[in-house]
């Protein structure tokens, strides 16, 4: 008899015949298996024969009724404790969620962001301004900490907290001095420390309900929201074949998009389905390039713009330069954005 057959018989609790006994005597592995089966059979048999005294039914009944009455009186804390013990997986998940939340909101990371704005006036001399007039104006506007520097015919007003402040100061300077040239609003970047949540919040989140609204109404609404951060943004919304295209020209330099050829304009294009809701984010600090294009041809300007934006890591798709009837140049720059999904 072979081992395989012996093991099969052992597994099926077949009574051993003489041939099987002979094999078991000569094969230690089968002997061990047979012994294990015998022990198991004996143990099951002895457990089967054993009589276990049970608790009287009345006792069990009263014990359970008492227990259920006590359970009703359990405090909130003990219920929570029981739940924690019973649902350890859920508690672990919640704890992890809390840890992740705290990590996102509390743990600081260094990142680069716009920390303030400078106003740069070309050809504005100290002589054009009454002494003390500018500091007083800044103080009156609430920007006492702003610095004023005159250097080689240029005027620099630094340390303005946000773009709105820079615009207010620009208007004040224009009114005080009668100096009509627009200043350059220069964002100052710096490395700050903040949580991941703070970093995300620095992006401008725009959400617009589109249900029952025309393209023009949607465009107006987006424009209104963009105007809280950017100057004179232009927004066009077109719908064709169930797809909606949103084109935004965002100018971060504080002047009209088409009014100044030395400023840089960012075009953001979004393609979204015909949904009831549009939601997207734009970077709060759109970089501002400053180019001196005097005497340059259109081709040279385009090359200069591309070179400048490439320096800033932007991927320029197209640069269109047109000259208006009044002789001013209009530069439209289309920048490829990786993350511009609305749906």
């Amino acid at each position: 008899m072979r081992c395989k057959e012996v093991i099969r018989r052992i597994n099926n609790s077949v009574a051993p015949d003489s041939e099987m006994r002979e094999h078991i005597k000569s094969c230690p592995a089968c002997a061990r298996a047979f012994k294990a089966a015998s022990i198991l059979n004996n143990a099951l048999k002895s457990e089967k024969e054993k009589s276990i005294e049970t608790t009287p039914f009345a006792e069990i009944r009263s014990r359970i009724i008492r227990k259920t009455a006590e359970k009703k009186k359990e405090s909130i804390m003990s219920i929570m404790k029981n739940q924690i013990n019973r649902r350890s997986g859920l508690v672990t998940g919640l704890s992890l969620a809390v840890i992740v939340f705290l990590f996102i909101t509390l743990v600081p990371f260094s990142y680069t962001t716009t920390v303030g704005y400078d106003l740069v006036y070309a050809n504005l001399n100290e002589a054009n301004i009454t002494p003390g007039q500018l500091p007083r104006a800044l103080a009156a506007l609430g920007y006492e900490d702003a610095g004023i520097e005159f250097d080689g015919g240029n005027c620099l007003i630094s340390g303005l907290p946000d773009k709105q402040a820079a615009r207010e100061v620009a208007i004040a300077v224009k009114a005080l001095t009668g100096f009509q040239a627009d200043p350059q609003i220069r964002p100052i970047t710096g490395v700050v420390s903040g949580s991941l949540f703070a970093q995300v919040r620095e992006k401008l989140h725009i959400e617009v309900e589109t249900e029952g609204k025309s393209d023009q109404q949607i465009a107006d609404e987006i424009r209104q929201k963009l105007a809280t951060v950017y100057t004179n943004p232009t927004v066009t919304v077109t719908t064709s074949g169930g797809e909606r295209q949103i084109t935004m020209d965002i100018n971060d330099s504080g002047v009209n998009v088409a009014g100044d050829s030395t400023r840089d304009v960012k075009r953001i294009e979004l393609h979204v389905g015909d949904t009831d809701n549009i939601s997207f984010e734009t970077p709060a600090g759109v970089s501002c390039a400053n180019l001196d294009i005097e005497g340059m041809t259109d081709a040279e300007i385009e090359a200069a713009v591309r070179a400048k934006l490439a320096e800033e890591g932007e991927n320029v798709e197209s640069v269109d330069i047109t000259t208006n009837a009044d002789g001013k140049k209009e530069i439209k720059i289309k920048v490829e954005k990786e993350e511009t999904s609305g749906n």
């Binding site: 052992i10 597994n11 609790s13 077949v14 009574a15 051993p16 006994r21 078991i24 005597k25 230690p28 002997a31 061990r32 298996a33 047979f34 012994k35 294990a36 089966a37 015998s38 022990i39 198991l40 059979n41 004996n42 143990a43 099951l44 048999k45 002895s46 457990e47 089967k48 054993k50 009589s51 276990i52 005294e53 049970t54 608790t55 039914f57 069990i60 009944r61 014990r63 359970i64 227990k67 259920t68 359970k71 013990n85 019973r86 350890s88």
Partner: protein, 193 residues
């Protein structure tokens, strides 16, 4: 609600001894078994209103016991205490040492099984439930139950085998052969009935 409770106790009374001893066998000791029984009864009471057919009370209650046992087995490792097989003094009547020994081997073998297989083996092999009742408790076809019982027994045997040392086995064969053979014959007798 009170009417329901009365009916619950009425249905529980005849199967109470079976259910209580099943809990003790599942957990391997009296105290844990009584805790499990109590926990299962409290849960069953709270869910009694969902039982549509009172004729199915027994398999329903045993299913609750098995599920409660499975939940207990899922407790985290740091709160789990390995309990040694303990002898229920009141039930030991003849040979305490032999009984202790067989219980020890049985507990060792049962550790190789999943909670559900353990319950199946206890109900079938120890409490002598017919396959038909196991079908109503585990809600599995008869063939599946039989196959699982066969596999569970094989697992238990292999577990015990791993605890047996090779050389010392040979000397004991003679006695075991007779015991094993006798039991095997008894099993086939009882199945024929």
């Amino acid at each position: 609600m009170n009417m329901d409770n009365e009916l619950f106790w009425k249905l529980l009374e005849p199967i109470h001894p079976k259910a209580e001893s099943f809990c003790r066998k599942l957990t391997g000791n009296r105290d844990d078994g009584d805790d499990l029984y109590q926990e299962a009864i409290i849960y069953a009471m709270s869910r009694f209103a969902t039982l549509k057919n009172t004729a199915a009370f027994q398999p329903w209650l045993f299913r609750i016991i098995i599920n409660s046992f499975k939940n207990r087995q899922r407790t985290p490792w740091w709160t789990r205490i390995t309990l040694r097989p303990n002898i229920d003094e009141s039930s030991v009547k003849i040979d305490p040492l032999a009984q202790y020994d067989s219980r020890r081997w049985l507990n060792r073998a049962l550790t190789s099984l999943s909670p559900e297989d353990k319950a199946m083996i206890i109900l079938y092999e120890i409490d002598g439930w017919p396959i038909g009742e196991l079908v109503s408790i585990f809600k599995k076809p008869e063939g599946t139950i039989k196959a699982r019982l066969w596999r569970a027994r094989r697992k238990m045997r292999k577990k015990l085998e791993s605890h047996l040392s090779g050389p010392s086995v040979k000397g004991d064969i003679k006695t075991d052969v007779s015991v094993g053979g006798k039991y095997a014959l008894q099993r086939s007798d009882s199945k024929d009935k």
